[in-house]
């Protein structure tokens, strides 16, 4: 199975938010830790609703947490 085209900065953002653990983020957005692990590995593209919930958890706009395709800007 190829990597998903939707990437994210979740791992970096967690560390920038007082080293939030995967479990803490999972509890905040209402998913299991396994799903956060899959998202960070790029193994899963979240639903739009979950993507918004994660962005809200970091108090950031959606496009600063998720990106589509190659993230060459970074």
């Amino acid at each position: 199975m190829g990597k998903n085209l939707v990437g994210n900065h979740i791992r970096k953002l967690r560390f920038n938010h007082d080293e939030m653990t995967q479990q803490q983020l999972a509890d905040k957005v209402g998913v299991t830790r396994q799903t956060i692990v899959a998202l960070e590995k790029g193994n899963y593209s979240p639903s739009l609703e979950l993507a918004f919930r994660i962005a809200h958890a970091f108090n950031m706009p959606l496009e600063e947490v998720f990106f589509y395709g190659d993230n060459t800007k970074e």
Partner: protein, 148 residues
């Protein structure tokens, strides 16, 4: 390895063990002189029904034991709910499992068309049920490891 991956592996192993043990148990009770048509339907009907009940019961017991062992060995609690990733993977597992079972069902009907004994039809149906169960668990394991 995560809880879901371990659970999928346990599910595959338990499905194989239950099926093989039950078939071995029923095989020695198969009448040597063969079955008349009415007896054959009774034998295979009870085979399917008892196998279904035994499988459900054994899966429940194995699941409880697995959760206890998981808690003791890892010190973590198992996930209390299924989120969107779990549901997505469950759907894919069900789709693949049903596909395999339908294929087996068509093969079983095909065996009647080419005038095979009724036993061949029942064995094909039962084996396809077993393979579809294993296919579902393997699909889950694959997607939990490699992503969706």
């Amino acid at each position: 390895m995560t809880y879901q991956e371990k659970k999928s592996i346990v599910s595959i192993i338990s499905a194989i063990l239950i099926f093989v043990s039950f078939c071995a148990y029923k095989y020695v009770r198969y009448p040597e002189e063969g079955l008349e048509s009415t007896e054959a339907f009774h034998y295979w009907g009870s085979f399917v029904l008892v196998l279904t009940l035994v499988s459900i019961f054994a899966h429940i017991v194995i699941s409880i034991v697995f959760n206890i062992v998981f808690r003791i060995t890892t010190g973590e609690k198992e996930p209390a709910f299924a989120d969107e990733l779990d549901k997505h993977i469950e759907l894919k597992a069900n789709r693949n499992g049903f596909f395999v079972f339908i294929l087996g069902f068509l093969l079983a009907m095909g065996s009647l068309v080419i005038e095979q004994p009724v036993q061949v039809m029942f064995v094909t149906l039962i084996v396809s049920g077993f393979i579809s169960d294993v296919t579902g668990s393997v699909t889950k394991l694959y997607h939990y490891r490699r992503g969706v």
